[in-house]
Amino acid sequence: MTTLSAPTQTRRRRKAPGGTGSLWTATPMTRLILAVTIIISAFPLYYMIVIASRTNTEATDMPPPFLPGGKLGENIQRVLTNPDAHYMTGLTNSLIISATVTISVVVISTFAGFAFARLKFKGGKILLLLVLLTMMVPLQQMGQVPLYRLMVNLEWVGSIKAVILPFLLNGFGVFLMTQYTEQAVPNELVEAARVDGASTLRIWWNVILPAVRPGMGVLGINTFMLNWNEFMWPLIVLNPDNPTVQVAINSLNAKYGTDYVLIFSGTLLSILPLIVVFILFGRQIIGGLMEGAVKA
Protein backbone atom coordinates (compact mmCIF):
# COMPACT_ATOMS: atom_id res chain seq x y z
CA MET A 1 0.00 0.00 0.00
CA THR A 2 2.79 2.34 0.87
CA THR A 3 4.50 1.42 -2.35
CA LEU A 4 1.39 2.48 -4.14
CA SER A 5 1.17 6.01 -2.80
CA ALA A 6 4.85 6.83 -2.36
CA PRO A 7 5.85 7.29 -6.03
CA THR A 8 2.79 9.43 -6.68
CA GLN A 9 3.69 11.78 -3.91
CA THR A 10 7.29 12.26 -4.99
CA ARG A 11 6.02 13.00 -8.43
CA ARG A 12 3.59 15.59 -7.18
CA ARG A 13 6.15 17.25 -5.00
CA ARG A 14 8.69 17.41 -7.74
CA LYS A 15 6.25 18.77 -10.23
CA ALA A 16 5.48 22.00 -8.42
CA PRO A 17 8.91 23.67 -8.30
CA GLY A 18 10.24 22.05 -11.46
CA GLY A 19 7.67 23.46 -13.81
CA THR A 20 8.00 20.42 -16.09
CA GLY A 21 4.78 19.02 -14.69
CA SER A 22 3.17 19.13 -18.10
CA LEU A 23 5.18 16.01 -18.94
CA TRP A 24 3.15 14.07 -16.42
CA THR A 25 -0.27 15.63 -16.85
CA ALA A 26 -2.83 13.41 -18.46
CA THR A 27 -3.67 14.60 -21.98
CA PRO A 28 -7.14 14.04 -23.46
CA MET A 29 -5.56 11.14 -25.37
CA THR A 30 -4.42 9.56 -22.10
CA ARG A 31 -7.89 9.92 -20.64
CA LEU A 32 -9.44 8.40 -23.74
CA ILE A 33 -7.10 5.39 -23.62
CA LEU A 34 -7.89 4.81 -19.97
CA ALA A 35 -11.63 5.22 -20.41
CA VAL A 36 -11.75 2.82 -23.37
CA THR A 37 -9.63 0.30 -21.45
CA ILE A 38 -11.95 0.35 -18.47
CA ILE A 39 -15.01 -0.07 -20.69
CA ILE A 40 -13.41 -3.03 -22.47
CA SER A 41 -12.34 -4.51 -19.13
CA ALA A 42 -15.78 -4.23 -17.64
CA PHE A 43 -17.92 -5.10 -20.65
CA PRO A 44 -17.65 -8.92 -20.62
CA LEU A 45 -18.43 -8.95 -16.92
CA TYR A 46 -21.40 -6.67 -17.46
CA TYR A 47 -22.54 -8.82 -20.36
CA MET A 48 -22.36 -11.83 -18.08
CA ILE A 49 -24.91 -10.16 -15.82
CA VAL A 50 -27.07 -9.19 -18.82
CA ILE A 51 -27.33 -12.73 -20.17
CA ALA A 52 -27.58 -14.34 -16.73
CA SER A 53 -30.66 -12.24 -16.00
CA ARG A 54 -32.50 -12.99 -19.27
CA THR A 55 -34.30 -15.90 -20.88
CA ASN A 56 -32.75 -18.00 -23.63
CA THR A 57 -35.07 -16.49 -26.24
CA GLU A 58 -33.93 -13.01 -25.28
CA ALA A 59 -30.29 -14.06 -25.17
CA THR A 60 -30.42 -15.17 -28.80
CA ASP A 61 -32.27 -12.08 -30.00
CA MET A 62 -30.85 -10.03 -32.83
CA PRO A 63 -29.75 -7.37 -31.90
CA PRO A 64 -28.53 -8.91 -28.64
CA PRO A 65 -29.82 -7.47 -25.36
CA PHE A 66 -27.58 -4.96 -23.59
CA LEU A 67 -29.56 -4.28 -20.42
CA PRO A 68 -30.09 -6.72 -17.54
CA GLY A 69 -33.44 -8.45 -17.28
CA GLY A 70 -35.27 -9.75 -14.23
CA LYS A 71 -34.64 -13.48 -14.33
CA LEU A 72 -31.37 -13.66 -12.38
CA GLY A 73 -32.84 -15.33 -9.27
CA GLU A 74 -34.72 -17.87 -11.31
CA ASN A 75 -31.68 -18.73 -13.45
CA ILE A 76 -29.39 -19.14 -10.44
CA GLN A 77 -32.02 -21.39 -8.90
CA ARG A 78 -31.81 -23.53 -12.04
CA VAL A 79 -28.02 -23.73 -11.78
CA LEU A 80 -28.10 -24.75 -8.15
CA THR A 81 -30.68 -27.47 -8.72
CA ASN A 82 -29.22 -28.76 -11.99
CA PRO A 83 -28.68 -32.52 -11.59
CA ASP A 84 -25.59 -32.68 -13.84
CA ALA A 85 -23.61 -29.75 -12.50
CA HIS A 86 -23.51 -30.54 -8.75
CA TYR A 87 -22.93 -26.83 -8.44
CA MET A 88 -23.24 -26.43 -4.67
CA THR A 89 -20.81 -29.31 -4.15
CA GLY A 90 -18.50 -27.58 -6.61
CA LEU A 91 -18.66 -24.27 -4.76
CA THR A 92 -18.03 -25.94 -1.41
CA ASN A 93 -15.15 -28.01 -2.81
CA SER A 94 -13.53 -24.98 -4.42
CA LEU A 95 -13.81 -23.09 -1.16
CA ILE A 96 -12.27 -25.93 0.86
CA ILE A 97 -9.49 -26.52 -1.67
CA SER A 98 -8.59 -22.86 -2.12
CA ALA A 99 -8.66 -22.11 1.60
CA THR A 100 -6.62 -25.17 2.60
CA VAL A 101 -4.03 -24.61 -0.11
CA THR A 102 -3.79 -20.90 0.66
CA ILE A 103 -3.22 -21.34 4.38
CA SER A 104 -0.68 -24.15 3.88
CA VAL A 105 1.24 -22.37 1.14
CA VAL A 106 1.47 -19.16 3.16
CA VAL A 107 2.76 -21.01 6.24
CA ILE A 108 5.22 -23.20 4.29
CA SER A 109 6.51 -20.19 2.34
CA THR A 110 6.89 -17.99 5.39
CA PHE A 111 8.95 -20.70 7.13
CA ALA A 112 11.15 -21.26 4.11
CA GLY A 113 11.42 -17.54 3.37
CA PHE A 114 12.63 -16.89 6.92
CA ALA A 115 15.26 -19.61 6.66
CA PHE A 116 16.52 -18.47 3.25
CA ALA A 117 16.53 -14.77 4.06
CA ARG A 118 17.73 -14.60 7.63
CA LEU A 119 19.31 -17.92 8.70
CA LYS A 120 22.58 -18.86 7.11
CA PHE A 121 23.03 -22.57 6.54
CA LYS A 122 25.07 -24.89 4.36
CA GLY A 123 23.51 -25.42 0.97
CA GLY A 124 20.99 -22.63 1.48
CA LYS A 125 21.98 -20.75 -1.64
CA ILE A 126 21.81 -23.88 -3.79
CA LEU A 127 18.47 -24.90 -2.35
CA LEU A 128 17.07 -21.44 -3.13
CA LEU A 129 18.42 -21.63 -6.66
CA LEU A 130 16.66 -24.97 -7.04
CA VAL A 131 13.36 -23.28 -6.16
CA LEU A 132 13.92 -20.67 -8.86
CA LEU A 133 14.78 -23.33 -11.45
CA THR A 134 11.68 -25.39 -10.73
CA MET A 135 9.54 -22.31 -11.24
CA MET A 136 10.50 -22.49 -14.92
CA VAL A 137 9.19 -26.06 -15.34
CA PRO A 138 5.55 -26.37 -16.42
CA LEU A 139 4.80 -29.04 -13.83
CA GLN A 140 1.10 -29.01 -14.72
CA GLN A 141 1.81 -30.45 -18.14
CA MET A 142 5.00 -32.31 -17.33
CA GLY A 143 3.73 -34.25 -14.35
CA GLN A 144 0.09 -34.93 -15.04
CA VAL A 145 0.34 -38.56 -16.17
CA PRO A 146 2.49 -39.87 -13.27
CA LEU A 147 0.55 -37.77 -10.78
CA TYR A 148 -2.71 -39.17 -12.07
CA ARG A 149 -1.40 -42.72 -11.78
CA LEU A 150 -0.16 -41.93 -8.27
CA MET A 151 -3.65 -40.78 -7.36
CA VAL A 152 -5.11 -43.96 -8.88
CA ASN A 153 -2.79 -46.07 -6.74
CA LEU A 154 -3.64 -44.09 -3.62
CA GLU A 155 -7.33 -44.42 -4.57
CA TRP A 156 -7.67 -40.66 -4.32
CA VAL A 157 -9.19 -40.11 -7.75
CA GLY A 158 -12.48 -38.31 -7.26
CA SER A 159 -11.44 -36.95 -3.89
CA ILE A 160 -10.46 -33.32 -3.32
CA LYS A 161 -7.33 -34.55 -1.53
CA ALA A 162 -5.99 -35.29 -5.00
CA VAL A 163 -6.41 -31.62 -5.91
CA ILE A 164 -5.16 -30.10 -2.66
CA LEU A 165 -1.86 -31.92 -2.18
CA PRO A 166 -0.10 -31.26 -5.51
CA PHE A 167 -0.99 -27.56 -5.26
CA LEU A 168 0.77 -27.20 -1.93
CA LEU A 169 3.96 -27.16 -3.98
CA ASN A 170 4.41 -23.47 -4.76
CA GLY A 171 7.88 -22.20 -5.63
CA PHE A 172 6.62 -18.68 -6.28
CA GLY A 173 5.49 -18.45 -2.65
CA VAL A 174 8.91 -19.42 -1.30
CA PHE A 175 10.58 -16.93 -3.62
CA LEU A 176 8.18 -14.12 -2.72
CA MET A 177 8.48 -14.65 1.04
CA THR A 178 12.28 -14.86 0.84
CA GLN A 179 12.33 -11.51 -0.95
CA TYR A 180 9.83 -10.01 1.43
CA THR A 181 11.57 -11.20 4.60
CA GLU A 182 14.88 -9.89 3.35
CA GLN A 183 13.36 -6.48 2.87
CA ALA A 184 11.03 -6.29 5.88
CA VAL A 185 13.17 -7.80 8.66
CA PRO A 186 16.58 -6.20 9.34
CA ASN A 187 19.29 -8.72 10.18
CA GLU A 188 20.11 -6.80 13.39
CA LEU A 189 16.63 -7.49 14.69
CA VAL A 190 17.12 -11.24 14.34
CA GLU A 191 20.57 -11.04 15.91
CA ALA A 192 19.27 -9.02 18.83
CA ALA A 193 16.56 -11.58 19.47
CA ARG A 194 19.18 -14.33 19.30
CA VAL A 195 21.39 -12.58 21.87
CA ASP A 196 18.38 -12.31 24.13
CA GLY A 197 18.17 -16.10 23.98
CA ALA A 198 15.16 -16.50 21.73
CA SER A 199 14.85 -19.83 19.95
CA THR A 200 14.48 -20.00 16.17
CA LEU A 201 10.81 -20.76 16.41
CA ARG A 202 10.31 -17.91 18.84
CA ILE A 203 12.10 -15.51 16.51
CA TRP A 204 9.84 -16.64 13.72
CA TRP A 205 6.76 -16.05 15.82
CA ASN A 206 7.74 -12.79 17.53
CA VAL A 207 10.02 -11.05 15.03
CA ILE A 208 9.39 -12.40 11.54
CA LEU A 209 5.67 -13.01 11.54
CA PRO A 210 4.57 -9.49 12.56
CA ALA A 211 6.91 -7.91 9.99
CA VAL A 212 6.03 -10.03 6.96
CA ARG A 213 2.27 -10.00 7.44
CA PRO A 214 1.62 -7.76 4.39
CA GLY A 215 3.68 -10.11 2.20
CA MET A 216 1.70 -13.05 3.51
CA GLY A 217 -1.46 -11.21 2.58
CA VAL A 218 -0.34 -10.68 -1.01
CA LEU A 219 0.73 -14.30 -1.35
CA GLY A 220 -2.52 -15.47 0.23
CA ILE A 221 -4.76 -13.48 -2.13
CA ASN A 222 -2.70 -14.62 -5.09
CA THR A 223 -2.79 -18.29 -4.11
CA PHE A 224 -6.51 -18.19 -3.41
CA MET A 225 -7.34 -16.73 -6.81
CA LEU A 226 -5.00 -19.10 -8.61
CA ASN A 227 -6.52 -22.18 -7.00
CA TRP A 228 -10.08 -20.98 -7.41
CA ASN A 229 -9.41 -20.69 -11.14
CA GLU A 230 -7.57 -23.98 -11.51
CA PHE A 231 -9.16 -26.03 -14.25
CA MET A 232 -7.00 -28.68 -15.91
CA TRP A 233 -5.90 -30.80 -12.96
CA PRO A 234 -9.33 -30.92 -11.26
CA LEU A 235 -10.78 -31.87 -14.65
CA ILE A 236 -8.35 -34.81 -14.81
CA VAL A 237 -8.61 -36.07 -11.29
CA LEU A 238 -12.17 -35.31 -10.13
CA ASN A 239 -15.45 -36.88 -11.23
CA PRO A 240 -18.34 -34.73 -12.45
CA ASP A 241 -20.41 -35.66 -9.39
CA ASN A 242 -17.82 -34.22 -6.99
CA PRO A 243 -16.40 -31.28 -8.96
CA THR A 244 -14.77 -27.94 -8.29
CA VAL A 245 -16.75 -24.93 -9.43
CA GLN A 246 -14.78 -24.67 -12.71
CA VAL A 247 -15.40 -28.35 -13.47
CA ALA A 248 -19.09 -27.82 -12.68
CA ILE A 249 -19.26 -25.00 -15.24
CA ASN A 250 -17.48 -27.24 -17.69
CA SER A 251 -20.15 -29.93 -17.18
CA LEU A 252 -22.87 -27.34 -17.85
CA ASN A 253 -21.00 -26.14 -20.90
CA ALA A 254 -20.57 -29.66 -22.26
CA LYS A 255 -24.15 -30.83 -21.64
CA TYR A 256 -26.24 -27.69 -22.15
CA GLY A 257 -24.22 -25.91 -24.82
CA THR A 258 -27.14 -23.79 -26.05
CA ASP A 259 -28.68 -23.04 -22.65
CA TYR A 260 -26.77 -19.78 -22.44
CA VAL A 261 -28.55 -18.31 -19.44
CA LEU A 262 -27.85 -21.43 -17.40
CA ILE A 263 -24.13 -21.40 -18.23
CA PHE A 264 -23.83 -17.65 -17.72
CA SER A 265 -25.58 -17.77 -14.35
CA GLY A 266 -23.23 -20.52 -13.22
CA THR A 267 -20.26 -18.54 -14.44
CA LEU A 268 -21.43 -15.35 -12.76
CA LEU A 269 -21.92 -17.19 -9.48
CA SER A 270 -18.42 -18.68 -9.76
CA ILE A 271 -16.65 -15.33 -9.97
CA LEU A 272 -18.57 -13.68 -7.11
CA PRO A 273 -16.07 -14.82 -4.44
CA LEU A 274 -13.24 -13.41 -6.58
CA ILE A 275 -15.03 -10.08 -7.01
CA VAL A 276 -15.49 -9.89 -3.23
CA VAL A 277 -11.78 -10.56 -2.69
CA PHE A 278 -10.96 -7.96 -5.33
CA ILE A 279 -13.14 -5.25 -3.80
CA LEU A 280 -11.83 -5.91 -0.29
CA PHE A 281 -8.14 -6.27 -1.17
CA GLY A 282 -7.78 -4.53 -4.53
CA ARG A 283 -5.33 -1.99 -3.18
CA GLN A 284 -3.11 -4.73 -1.71
CA ILE A 285 -3.29 -6.81 -4.90
CA ILE A 286 -1.99 -3.90 -6.98
CA GLY A 287 0.61 -2.96 -4.38
CA GLY A 288 1.88 -6.53 -4.22
CA LEU A 289 1.96 -6.90 -8.00
CA MET A 290 3.95 -3.72 -8.50
CA GLU A 291 6.34 -4.46 -5.68
CA GLY A 292 6.96 -7.98 -6.91
CA ALA A 293 7.53 -6.78 -10.47
CA VAL A 294 10.26 -4.33 -9.59
CA LYS A 295 12.18 -6.90 -7.60
CA ALA A 296 11.94 -9.79 -9.99
Binding site: T20, L23, W24, A26, T30, I33, L34, T37, I38, S41, A42, P44, L45, M48, I51, P63, P64, A112, A115, L119, K120, F121, L127, T134, M136, V137, L139, Q141, M142, G143, V145, P146, Y148, L150, L165, L168, L169, G171, R194, S199, T200, L201, M225, N229, F231, I236, N250, N253, A254, G257, I263, T267, I271, F278, G282, I286, L289, M290, A293, V294
Partner: protein, 324 residues
Protein backbone atom coordinates in the same frame (compact mmCIF):
# COMPACT_ATOMS: atom_id res chain seq x y z
CA UNK B 1 27.61 -16.95 10.84
CA UNK B 2 29.03 -15.15 13.86
CA UNK B 3 25.59 -15.38 15.28
CA UNK B 4 25.65 -19.16 15.53
CA UNK B 5 29.05 -19.16 17.15
CA UNK B 6 28.02 -16.65 19.78
CA UNK B 7 24.93 -18.53 20.67
CA UNK B 8 26.40 -21.99 20.31
CA UNK B 9 29.40 -21.69 22.57
CA UNK B 10 27.96 -20.93 25.99
CA UNK B 11 26.76 -24.51 26.40
CA UNK B 12 30.30 -25.80 26.02
CA UNK B 13 31.88 -23.06 28.09
CA UNK B 14 32.27 -23.67 31.82
CA UNK B 15 28.96 -23.23 33.50
CA UNK B 16 28.23 -21.47 36.75
CA UNK B 17 28.67 -23.97 39.61
CA UNK B 18 25.02 -24.09 40.46
CA UNK B 19 24.15 -25.43 37.04
CA UNK B 20 26.99 -27.86 36.67
CA UNK B 21 25.09 -30.71 38.27
CA UNK B 22 21.96 -30.23 36.35
CA UNK B 23 21.28 -33.48 34.49
CA UNK B 24 19.70 -32.39 31.24
CA UNK B 25 22.94 -30.97 29.84
CA UNK B 26 23.19 -33.42 26.94
CA UNK B 27 19.55 -32.74 26.20
CA UNK B 28 20.18 -29.04 26.23
CA UNK B 29 23.00 -29.23 23.76
CA UNK B 30 20.81 -31.39 21.58
CA UNK B 31 18.14 -28.72 21.77
CA UNK B 32 20.71 -26.06 20.92
CA UNK B 33 21.91 -28.11 17.98
CA UNK B 34 18.34 -28.58 16.90
CA UNK B 35 17.63 -24.90 17.27
CA UNK B 36 20.71 -23.56 15.52
CA UNK B 37 21.92 -26.15 13.04
CA UNK B 38 18.85 -28.16 12.19
CA UNK B 39 16.17 -25.47 12.35
CA UNK B 40 16.90 -23.93 8.93
CA UNK B 41 16.65 -27.34 7.29
CA UNK B 42 13.48 -28.14 9.18
CA UNK B 43 11.98 -24.83 8.09
CA UNK B 44 12.65 -25.44 4.41
CA UNK B 45 11.89 -29.16 4.51
CA UNK B 46 8.10 -28.98 3.92
CA UNK B 47 8.71 -27.34 0.56
CA UNK B 48 11.30 -29.91 -0.51
CA UNK B 49 9.21 -32.84 0.67
CA UNK B 50 6.36 -31.57 -1.47
CA UNK B 51 8.79 -30.97 -4.28
CA UNK B 52 10.07 -34.55 -4.10
CA UNK B 53 6.61 -36.08 -4.17
CA UNK B 54 4.75 -33.71 -6.49
CA UNK B 55 7.61 -32.26 -8.52
CA UNK B 56 10.61 -34.50 -8.94
CA UNK B 57 8.81 -37.82 -8.82
CA UNK B 58 6.32 -36.93 -11.60
CA UNK B 59 9.07 -35.39 -13.73
CA UNK B 60 11.23 -38.50 -13.47
CA UNK B 61 8.30 -40.77 -14.20
CA UNK B 62 7.20 -38.71 -17.18
CA UNK B 63 10.63 -39.38 -18.62
CA UNK B 64 10.37 -43.07 -17.74
CA UNK B 65 6.87 -43.46 -19.24
CA UNK B 66 7.94 -41.74 -22.42
CA UNK B 67 10.04 -44.81 -23.29
CA UNK B 68 7.06 -47.17 -23.12
CA UNK B 69 4.14 -47.94 -25.34
CA UNK B 70 0.78 -48.18 -23.58
CA UNK B 71 -2.35 -49.39 -25.24
CA UNK B 72 -5.98 -49.62 -24.24
CA UNK B 73 -5.76 -53.32 -23.36
CA UNK B 74 -3.19 -52.53 -20.70
CA UNK B 75 -0.10 -53.97 -22.38
CA UNK B 76 3.06 -52.03 -21.76
CA UNK B 77 6.04 -52.36 -24.02
CA UNK B 78 9.46 -50.76 -24.11
CA UNK B 79 9.88 -48.71 -27.28
CA UNK B 80 12.98 -46.69 -26.53
CA UNK B 81 12.71 -43.45 -28.41
CA UNK B 82 9.79 -44.79 -30.43
CA UNK B 83 7.29 -42.34 -28.97
CA UNK B 84 9.50 -39.40 -29.80
CA UNK B 85 10.11 -40.42 -33.39
CA UNK B 86 6.40 -41.18 -33.81
CA UNK B 87 5.52 -37.73 -32.46
CA UNK B 88 7.88 -36.02 -34.86
CA UNK B 89 6.09 -37.87 -37.67
CA UNK B 90 2.61 -37.17 -36.29
CA UNK B 91 0.74 -34.51 -38.27
CA UNK B 92 -1.67 -34.04 -35.34
CA UNK B 93 1.20 -33.17 -33.01
CA UNK B 94 2.67 -30.67 -35.46
CA UNK B 95 -0.72 -29.13 -36.01
CA UNK B 96 -0.97 -28.61 -32.24
CA UNK B 97 2.50 -27.06 -32.22
CA UNK B 98 1.62 -24.68 -35.06
CA UNK B 99 -1.70 -23.77 -33.40
CA UNK B 100 0.04 -23.07 -30.11
CA UNK B 101 2.79 -20.96 -31.65
CA UNK B 102 0.35 -19.05 -33.86
CA UNK B 103 -1.99 -18.22 -30.98
CA UNK B 104 1.00 -17.28 -28.86
CA UNK B 105 2.31 -14.80 -31.43
CA UNK B 106 -1.12 -13.40 -32.36
CA UNK B 107 -1.90 -12.88 -28.69
CA UNK B 108 1.44 -11.74 -27.30
CA UNK B 109 2.73 -9.16 -29.77
CA UNK B 110 -0.30 -6.83 -29.62
CA UNK B 111 -0.63 -7.54 -25.92
CA UNK B 112 2.86 -6.29 -25.07
CA UNK B 113 2.45 -3.18 -27.25
CA UNK B 114 -0.97 -2.38 -25.81
CA UNK B 115 0.29 -2.98 -22.28
CA UNK B 116 3.17 -0.55 -22.86
CA UNK B 117 0.79 2.08 -24.20
CA UNK B 118 -1.59 1.55 -21.32
CA UNK B 119 1.19 1.65 -18.73
CA UNK B 120 2.41 4.92 -20.22
CA UNK B 121 -1.10 6.34 -19.82
CA UNK B 122 -1.36 5.00 -16.25
CA UNK B 123 1.94 6.69 -15.43
CA UNK B 124 0.40 10.16 -15.91
CA UNK B 125 -1.34 12.21 -13.26
CA UNK B 126 -5.11 11.93 -13.07
CA UNK B 127 -7.86 11.67 -10.49
CA UNK B 128 -9.30 8.40 -9.16
CA UNK B 129 -5.96 6.68 -9.65
CA UNK B 130 -6.75 3.59 -7.57
CA UNK B 131 -10.12 3.19 -9.24
CA UNK B 132 -8.56 3.32 -12.70
CA UNK B 133 -5.86 0.82 -11.80
CA UNK B 134 -8.44 -1.54 -10.34
CA UNK B 135 -10.52 -1.18 -13.49
CA UNK B 136 -7.53 -2.10 -15.62
CA UNK B 137 -6.85 -5.15 -13.47
CA UNK B 138 -10.48 -6.26 -13.31
CA UNK B 139 -10.17 -8.99 -15.99
CA UNK B 140 -7.52 -10.77 -13.94
CA UNK B 141 -9.98 -11.67 -11.18
CA UNK B 142 -12.34 -13.36 -13.58
CA UNK B 143 -11.69 -17.07 -13.86
CA UNK B 144 -10.29 -18.26 -17.18
CA UNK B 145 -13.27 -20.51 -17.69
CA UNK B 146 -15.63 -17.58 -17.10
CA UNK B 147 -13.76 -15.43 -19.64
CA UNK B 148 -13.91 -18.19 -22.19
CA UNK B 149 -17.63 -18.77 -21.64
CA UNK B 150 -18.45 -15.09 -22.21
CA UNK B 151 -16.19 -14.71 -25.23
CA UNK B 152 -17.48 -17.91 -26.77
CA UNK B 153 -20.93 -16.35 -26.65
CA UNK B 154 -19.64 -13.01 -27.99
CA UNK B 155 -18.06 -14.90 -30.89
CA UNK B 156 -21.17 -16.98 -31.55
CA UNK B 157 -21.93 -17.46 -35.23
CA UNK B 158 -25.65 -16.73 -35.14
CA UNK B 159 -26.32 -14.60 -32.06
CA UNK B 160 -22.90 -13.28 -31.18
CA UNK B 161 -22.27 -9.61 -30.50
CA UNK B 162 -19.07 -9.57 -32.59
CA UNK B 163 -20.80 -10.77 -35.74
CA UNK B 164 -23.64 -8.37 -35.06
CA UNK B 165 -21.19 -5.43 -34.91
CA UNK B 166 -19.38 -6.66 -38.04
CA UNK B 167 -22.79 -6.78 -39.71
CA UNK B 168 -22.98 -2.97 -39.42
CA UNK B 169 -20.11 -2.81 -41.86
CA UNK B 170 -21.77 -5.22 -44.19
CA UNK B 171 -19.64 -8.21 -43.26
CA UNK B 172 -21.13 -11.69 -43.49
CA UNK B 173 -21.37 -13.62 -40.21
CA UNK B 174 -18.10 -15.41 -39.46
CA UNK B 175 -18.10 -18.94 -38.08
CA UNK B 176 -15.36 -18.23 -35.56
CA UNK B 177 -14.89 -21.83 -34.48
CA UNK B 178 -14.80 -23.41 -37.93
CA UNK B 179 -11.55 -22.13 -39.38
CA UNK B 180 -8.03 -21.84 -38.12
CA UNK B 181 -7.39 -18.11 -38.33
CA UNK B 182 -10.76 -16.90 -36.94
CA UNK B 183 -10.57 -19.32 -34.02
CA UNK B 184 -6.99 -18.28 -33.28
CA UNK B 185 -8.04 -14.63 -33.32
CA UNK B 186 -10.99 -15.30 -31.03
CA UNK B 187 -8.85 -17.19 -28.53
CA UNK B 188 -6.09 -14.57 -28.72
CA UNK B 189 -8.55 -11.83 -27.75
CA UNK B 190 -9.59 -13.88 -24.69
CA UNK B 191 -5.97 -14.09 -23.61
CA UNK B 192 -5.32 -10.41 -24.28
CA UNK B 193 -8.45 -9.27 -22.51
CA UNK B 194 -7.35 -11.11 -19.41
CA UNK B 195 -3.63 -10.29 -19.38
CA UNK B 196 -3.06 -6.86 -20.99
CA UNK B 197 -4.08 -4.95 -17.86
CA UNK B 198 -1.97 -7.18 -15.65
CA UNK B 199 1.11 -6.62 -17.80
CA UNK B 200 0.39 -2.89 -17.92
CA UNK B 201 0.46 -2.74 -14.12
CA UNK B 202 3.78 -4.62 -14.12
CA UNK B 203 5.19 -2.20 -16.74
CA UNK B 204 3.87 0.71 -14.69
CA UNK B 205 5.85 -0.53 -11.70
CA UNK B 206 8.93 -0.66 -13.89
CA UNK B 207 8.28 2.82 -15.30
CA UNK B 208 8.07 4.32 -11.84
CA UNK B 209 11.64 3.24 -11.11
CA UNK B 210 12.95 5.24 -14.11
CA UNK B 211 14.46 8.53 -12.81
CA UNK B 212 12.24 11.46 -13.77
CA UNK B 213 15.30 13.64 -14.43
CA UNK B 214 15.95 11.68 -17.61
CA UNK B 215 12.66 12.87 -19.07
CA UNK B 216 13.13 16.39 -17.84
CA UNK B 217 16.58 16.56 -19.43
CA UNK B 218 15.23 15.08 -22.65
CA UNK B 219 12.38 17.55 -22.92
CA UNK B 220 14.76 20.46 -22.32
CA UNK B 221 16.74 19.06 -25.25
CA UNK B 222 13.53 19.18 -27.24
CA UNK B 223 12.80 15.47 -27.53
CA UNK B 224 9.15 14.79 -28.28
CA UNK B 225 7.05 12.62 -25.99
CA UNK B 226 6.99 9.86 -28.54
CA UNK B 227 10.76 9.97 -28.84
CA UNK B 228 11.11 9.94 -25.06
CA UNK B 229 8.87 6.89 -24.90
CA UNK B 230 10.91 4.88 -27.39
CA UNK B 231 14.36 6.12 -26.36
CA UNK B 232 14.03 6.34 -22.59
CA UNK B 233 11.05 4.37 -21.37
CA UNK B 234 11.32 1.25 -23.50
CA UNK B 235 15.08 0.66 -23.09
CA UNK B 236 14.93 1.38 -19.36
CA UNK B 237 12.11 -1.15 -19.03
CA UNK B 238 14.26 -4.00 -20.24
CA UNK B 239 14.35 -6.00 -16.97
CA UNK B 240 10.58 -5.71 -16.58
CA UNK B 241 10.13 -6.59 -20.24
CA UNK B 242 12.13 -9.80 -19.79
CA UNK B 243 9.96 -10.75 -16.83
CA UNK B 244 6.73 -10.05 -18.72
CA UNK B 245 7.77 -11.79 -21.92
CA UNK B 246 9.12 -14.91 -20.21
CA UNK B 247 5.92 -15.09 -18.18
CA UNK B 248 3.81 -14.77 -21.33
CA UNK B 249 5.94 -17.37 -23.08
CA UNK B 250 5.39 -20.00 -20.43
CA UNK B 251 1.69 -19.11 -20.12
CA UNK B 252 1.13 -18.93 -23.87
CA UNK B 253 2.87 -22.17 -24.77
CA UNK B 254 0.97 -24.10 -22.08
CA UNK B 255 -2.39 -22.64 -23.13
CA UNK B 256 -5.26 -24.95 -22.23
CA UNK B 257 -8.38 -23.52 -20.58
CA UNK B 258 -9.47 -20.94 -23.16
CA UNK B 259 -9.44 -23.16 -26.27
CA UNK B 260 -10.91 -26.08 -24.31
CA UNK B 261 -13.84 -24.01 -23.10
CA UNK B 262 -14.21 -22.48 -26.57
CA UNK B 263 -15.08 -25.99 -27.81
CA UNK B 264 -17.54 -26.64 -24.96
CA UNK B 265 -15.04 -28.37 -22.71
CA UNK B 266 -13.67 -30.71 -25.34
CA UNK B 267 -9.88 -31.03 -25.64
CA UNK B 268 -10.05 -31.94 -29.32
CA UNK B 269 -9.99 -28.24 -30.21
CA UNK B 270 -12.59 -28.07 -32.97
CA UNK B 271 -13.78 -30.59 -35.52
CA UNK B 272 -10.38 -30.71 -37.25
CA UNK B 273 -8.37 -29.77 -34.17
CA UNK B 274 -7.95 -26.34 -35.73
CA UNK B 275 -7.35 -24.78 -32.31
CA UNK B 276 -5.99 -27.71 -30.33
CA UNK B 277 -2.89 -26.66 -28.37
CA UNK B 278 -0.01 -28.90 -27.29
CA UNK B 279 -1.40 -28.97 -23.72
CA UNK B 280 -4.73 -30.16 -25.06
CA UNK B 281 -2.95 -32.73 -27.24
CA UNK B 282 -1.14 -34.10 -24.19
CA UNK B 283 -4.41 -34.24 -22.25
CA UNK B 284 -6.16 -36.00 -25.13
CA UNK B 285 -3.41 -38.59 -25.56
CA UNK B 286 -3.12 -39.21 -21.81
CA UNK B 287 -6.71 -39.14 -20.63
CA UNK B 288 -8.85 -39.79 -23.68
CA UNK B 289 -6.65 -42.28 -25.57
CA UNK B 290 -4.89 -43.50 -22.39
CA UNK B 291 -1.59 -43.59 -24.22
CA UNK B 292 0.51 -42.54 -21.25
CA UNK B 293 3.82 -43.03 -23.02
CA UNK B 294 2.89 -40.90 -25.99
CA UNK B 295 1.47 -38.14 -23.75
CA UNK B 296 4.62 -38.17 -21.62
CA UNK B 297 6.89 -37.90 -24.63
CA UNK B 298 4.77 -34.98 -25.90
CA UNK B 299 5.12 -33.30 -22.50
CA UNK B 300 8.90 -33.43 -22.82
CA UNK B 301 8.74 -31.96 -26.29
CA UNK B 302 6.53 -29.18 -24.92
CA UNK B 303 9.16 -28.49 -22.29
CA UNK B 304 11.79 -28.30 -25.00
CA UNK B 305 9.56 -25.91 -26.93
CA UNK B 306 9.24 -23.67 -23.86
CA UNK B 307 13.00 -23.65 -23.32
CA UNK B 308 13.63 -22.71 -26.95
CA UNK B 309 10.87 -20.11 -26.92
CA UNK B 310 12.14 -18.54 -23.69
CA UNK B 311 15.71 -18.44 -24.97
CA UNK B 312 14.71 -16.80 -28.28
CA UNK B 313 12.55 -14.21 -26.55
CA UNK B 314 15.21 -13.49 -23.98
CA UNK B 315 17.83 -12.85 -26.66
CA UNK B 316 15.39 -10.82 -28.72
CA UNK B 317 14.59 -8.46 -25.87
CA UNK B 318 18.20 -8.04 -24.89
CA UNK B 319 18.83 -7.07 -28.47
CA UNK B 320 15.96 -4.58 -28.68
CA UNK B 321 17.04 -2.91 -25.48
CA UNK B 322 20.68 -2.89 -26.50
CA UNK B 323 20.14 -1.10 -29.79
CA UNK B 324 18.40 1.90 -28.38
Amino acid sequence: MSLHVDAGHPTRAPMPPSRRHVRPRPGRSFMTWLDLKAAPYLLVSPYYLLFLVFGLFPLAFTLYYSFFDYDLTGTVEWTGLGNFTALLDDAAFWRAVVNTLAMFVIATVPQILLALLLANALNKRFKLQLFVRLGVLLPLVTSVVAVAVVFTQLYGRDWGVVNWVLGWFGADPIDWKAERLPSWLAIATMIDWRWTGYNAIIFLAGMQTIPKDLYEAASIDGASRRRQFWQITVPMLRPTMIFVVLNSTIGGLTLFSEPTTFYNGNVHGGTNSQFQTVSMFIFEQGFREFDYGYASAAAWLLFLLILIGSAINFLLIRRIGGNK
